[in-house]
Amino acid sequence: MSNAANLTFSQPTRHMTQETHHDYTGSKLGMWIFLVTEMLLFGGLFLVYAVYRYMHPADFHNAAQDLNVFIGTVNTCILLTSSLTMALSIATLQKGQRQAAVWLLLTTILLGIIFLVNKYFEWTAKIHHGIYPNSAEMLRFPQGEILFFGLYYVMTGLHGVHVVAGVVLLSIMVNVIRRKPCDVHVFGAASPGPAGVRRLTLTDATGHEMWTSEGIGELIDSVSVVVNYRPSEGRMRPQDYVALENCGLYWHLVDIIWIFLFPLFYLIT
């Protein structure tokens, strides 16, 4: 494994490596903090919802009857299932089963798209009935109902934007895990040392020699070696799947937000 490899000149030399550090826990911590900010972003809307529902309980109750509980329930199940396939995709990748991981990820993306299509039909049906912000029809509603539908469009809309972002993110990940996990280490070695026969040696962590170069002529004063790392099944390092794990965290968060949106809009009849 290249991250345990050592590149040295056979003679004393100063060698430089490309600094790469993989703080597995650190990158997940960063992602979780980001999720907290996302939660507060939606939190502001939940606050608005709470205030207006408190002020217009009857209107909210009436307006919610216009929403289709069946479509809402189906969409909930779709998102929950996509969370399952997402979690499984990570689990399979951790074991190095890249093929399975890709398929599960594609399923997740597909479920996300189905969710969006349902959402699209739901919205267009509403708009068809003249229920959309600032429509002549809606301006005749009691104020609480205007607020309910305003919040409905804003909150499910923002959630939809997050689903779209998730779908894009996961599509990128499909590409990443199909090509990767693989990373490239570039070792640059410069030897100002005395002329003579110089060789480059690649050793593993135990000092065992893995590769030695041909003799390097005295006119050459710096060499760079590129090592490609491709883990095999069962030999995955955390940094090989942390990106997918973080995307998964994002996807689950989008699911959690829907878990709250669903009862708040569909089930308060």
Binding site: E19, D23, T25, G26, S27, L29, G30, I33, F34, V36, T37, E38, L40, L41, F42, G43, G44, L45, L47, V48, V51, Y52, M55, H56, P133, N134, L139, P142, Q143, G144, I146, L147, G150, L151, Y153, V154
Partner: protein
């Protein structure tokens, strides 16, 4: 400490001299080095500060005499909006956190960089894009926004000016602020050097850490609120529109849920820098380390609970008025804890009054005025009289400029030799400080009196002759202040171009930043230091704790 080892090692090229894949300007704008990113923030902030300051000076010219018509009324509305937006969102919110925080946070905890260098660079880009978008609102659409920096509804959804673009700019800047906070929290948790326990972190780091939490927790609320105003303007959803049942006071709640804690985003890092400067120039370890560290966290916590004090006359309920008034008085406690600890650190110290220390001491003085006038407004009955008067403007300029601004200048004088490896003229720096300090008080103290006498804020002009002399005095103060600022800027520019080489430790500081070369090498440390004592132990004649 490993000071000897670090100093004895052969010198790596400094971060300024380092040649990476790109050179010249590209070597800066594509650099992932936290130090270069910090310097880029510093330059951008300095430019925005000067732009904001010139808008402010223009406003002072307009208010210099009664019934003055130097600018059009609509221009005046745009002036105070832009002065506010630029100063708040482009100077004091990134404040010391983005510039000095980026530069010194990793150094002070013994790390080579922040946790996410790429994200860090992205934050800078977002900041610049946001700034450009916000400034573009000046020149496009139906003229610059005229809502004030608070964007209060319903006016902000009714006015025909270019509010959407201004809001979009602020939204993007907010996102940049969130990412910086996220980066700093992760860095503090993950990249402290071996032996750098939580209570061995320098107090500037504690302040940045507390600030980062506020950035992460409060900024999203601002983001969604501004987004709602944009949606309101574009689609007429009705959430804040009273004609459709929306409640404008709810907007005020949401806005201040962010914008009061934002005051602490602005002031906490400055307090942190002051806490670094005072021990160094008193040659004495800090008094009450844990109290200061915890007061930073307490300010972050309590500061999130007091937003309603901006709304005492808005029509919110009496219960809310009383609750928020009480909580507002509580938040004074941790701030006072800091002030007492700073003064206790000075006690029996060997105080050296060099420029950074002068700024630090005047910070304490000006911030105390700002804080105490804040308490006056926190009292319900008094606030009814003071609300929306020049008193408020005076108060927050004492906090924002006397606090954050002077803290920024203090940090700049303190760390300039470290950051750029050059010394500035101490004589000029002290002279500039004197002019600035006099100018500042001549400019802003009259605001407090004028407000008390009833001069409203944001008024284009006034007709009462009894305000004339104080308004005039204030305008003269603005000229003195500008002289001081220009002298200070000139001093730094001269130092950057022609200054003498600075020593590694010109002030005799003991924190990690003073144990590496000036300017620091690319990776800060030859070897990651191992920390064995508290951050302020090791002043001469001081036994370590």
């Amino acid at each position: 400490m490993t000071a000897a080892v670090i100093a004895a090692a052969p010198r790596e090229p400094s971060y300024l001299a380092y040649r990476g894949r790109y050179s010249g300007i590209l070597g800066w704008i594509f650099s992932l080095d936290h130090k270069r990113i910090g310097v880029m923030y510093l330059i951008a902030q300095a430019v925005f500060f000067l732009v904001g300051a010139s808008l402010g000076v223009t406003m002072r010219l307009q208010l210099m005499r009664p019934d003055n018509h130097l600018v059009q009324p609509q221009v005046y509305n745009a002036l105070f909006t832009l002065h506010g937006v630029i100063m708040i969102f482009l100077f004091v919110i990134p404040s010391l956190s983005a510039s000095f925080g980026n530069f010194f946070l990793p150094i002070l905890i013994g790390a080579k960089d922040v946790s996410f260098p790429k994200l860090n660079l992205m934050s800078w880009y977002l900041f610049m894009i946001g700034a450009v978008v916000a400034l573009m609102s000046l020149f496009t659409g139906n003229g610059p926004p005229d809502t004030g920096w608070t964007f209060y509804v319903p006016y902000s959804i009714r006015t025909s000016t270019n509010v959407v673009m201004g809001l979009t700019g602020v939204f993007i800047i907010g996102f940049s602020s969130i990412l910086t906070g996220l980066n700093f929290i992760t860095t503090v948790h993950r990249l402290r050097a071996p032996g750098m326990s939580w209570f061995r972190m320098p107090l500037f780091v504690w302040a940045l850490y507390a600030t980062a939490w506020i950035q992460v927790l409060a900024t999203p609320i601002l983001g969604i609120t501004l987004a709602l105003v944009v949606v309101e303007r574009l689609a007429g959803v009705g959430i804040f529109d009273p004609a459709k049942g929306g409640d404008p006071i709810l907007y005020q709640h949401l806005f201040w849920i962010y914008s009061h804690p934002a005051v602490y985003i602005m002031i906490l890092p400055a307090m942190g820098a002051i806490t670094e400067i005072i021990p160094t120039f008193s040659h004495r370890t800090i008094f009450g380390y844990k109290a200061i560290a915890m007061s930073s966290m307490a300010i972050a916590l309590l500061g999130s609970l007091v937003w309603g004090h901006h709304m005492f006359v808005s029509g919110q309920s009496d219960v809310a008025d009383i609750t928020f008034s009480l909580l507002t008085f509580l938040v004074a406690i941790p701030s006072a804890v800091k002030v007492f600890n700073w003064t206790a650190t000075l006690y029996k110290g060997s105080i050296v009054l060099e420029a950074p220390m002068l700024y630090a001491l005047s910070f304490i003085f000006l911030f105390s005025i700002g804080g105490l006038t804040g308490l006056m407004q926190g009292a319900l009955a008094v606030d009814v009289h003071l609300h929306d008067t020049a008193f408020i403007v005076g108060h927050f300029h004492y906090v924002m400029f006397g606090g954050t601004g002077f803290g920024f200048f203090a940090a700049l004088h303190y760390w300039f030799p470290k950051m750029f490896g050059r010394s500035y003229s101490d004589k000029v720096a002290r002279l500039a400080w004197g002019i600035l300090f006099v100018g500042f008080n001549t400019l802003y103290f009259p605001f407090l009196i004028l407000g008390w006498l009833g001069m409203p804020r944001r008024y284009y002009t006034y007709s009462f002759p009894q305000f004339a002399s104080l308004e005039m005095l204030s305008t003269v103060g603005s000229w003195i202040l500008v002289t001081g600022i220009l002298l200070m800027v000139g001093n730094f520019l001269h130092a950057a171009l022609k200054g003498a080489r600075a020593e590694d430790n010109p002030w005799g500081g003991v924190t990690l930043d003073w144990k590496i070369p000036s300017p620091p090498p690319l990776e800060n440390f030859e070897q990651i230091p191992v920390i064995t004592q508290g951050p302020y132990d090791g002043f001469e004649g001081q036994a370590p704790r």
